[in-house]
């Protein structure tokens, strides 16, 4: 059974590269959302196995989207991995303190993104 991943990222290029990577390398099903609000709706509708969530988005940013996902009983248990281009230590600690499962960094290697996600979530 293939995993189902929701990618929430406002940047079209990153979203499409990540989707291509997860679909073609791991054979996972990918659902895409281009905003936090759209991501919340897609998460509740599709109940993915995990969510890859961009940090910096206009409107509802990643941390706010994460907190909204946790407030909703339907989506509260879905593992969330933050995806960020921020490299400063203070940012990394702040993101980790949110309670997400993992923080992944841009740029990522399309060949190994799925393995990074699987490793972070303990998927074999």
């Amino acid at each position: 059974m293939a995993r189902k991943i929701l990618i929430i990222d406002d940047e079209d290029d990153i979203r499409e590269v990540a989707a291509l990577s997860l679909e073609s390398v791991a054979g996972w099903e990918v659902i895409k959302a281009s905003s936090g609000a759209q991501g919340l709706a897609r998460a509740e509708e599709h109940l993915p196995d995990a969510i890859l969530l961009d940090v910096m988005m206009p409107g509802m940013d990643g941390p706010t989207t994460f907190r909204e996902l946790r407030k909703n009983q339907a989506t509260a248990g879905i593992p969330v991995l933050l995806l960020t281009a921020k490299v400063q230590g203070t940012d990394q600690r702040r993101f980790a303190d949110l309670g997400v499962e993992a923080v992944l960094f841009k740029p990522f290697d399309p060949m190994t993104l799925s393995a990074q996600i699987a490793s972070a979530l303990g998927w074999k």
Binding site: M1, D12, D13, I14, E16, W28, A85
Partner: protein, 119 residues
């Protein structure tokens, strides 16, 4: 349950080809971000970098830093990060910073155009 398969050489080649397709598709967006940086570097060199333009340049550099390495341009990510940090620090325009910004931006442009012709 196995959820990840080991990608073989065929998967590698197929992904590489598909990535080239995405590069061509998103190249106009990437070039537009470089144009924003070039304009900001020029304005900085003239001592006319407004706060909004600096903010837009910082955002464009941040996006480039996130995406260029994904397409194999790791040096591009390094340069874009340097621009992002410089624009973040530059609360007031300085002419000497403008020269450095222009040099980095020119290298970034050349690198992107080179990737374009090789794909």
């Amino acid at each position: 349950m196995e959820t990840t398969s080991q990608p073989g050489p065929h998967a590698d080649a197929a992904l590489s080809q598909a990535m080239d397709g995405l590069w061509v598709r998103f190249l106009p967006d990437i070039q537009e971000r470089v144009t924003i940086l070039e304009a900001a570097a020029e304005a900085s060199g003239k001592g006319k970098l407004a706060a909004k333009q600096r903010e837009n340049a910082q955002s464009a550099a941040h996006k480039l830093a996130g995406v260029l390495g994904t397409f194999g341009l790791t040096r591009g990510t390094v340069l874009a990060r340097e621009l992002e940090l410089t624009f973040a620090r530059e609360s007031s325009p300085r002419r000497n910073a403008g020269t450095k910004l222009a040099e980095i931006t020119a290298e970034l442009r050349a690198m992107i155009e080179s990737r374009k012709s090789s794909s």
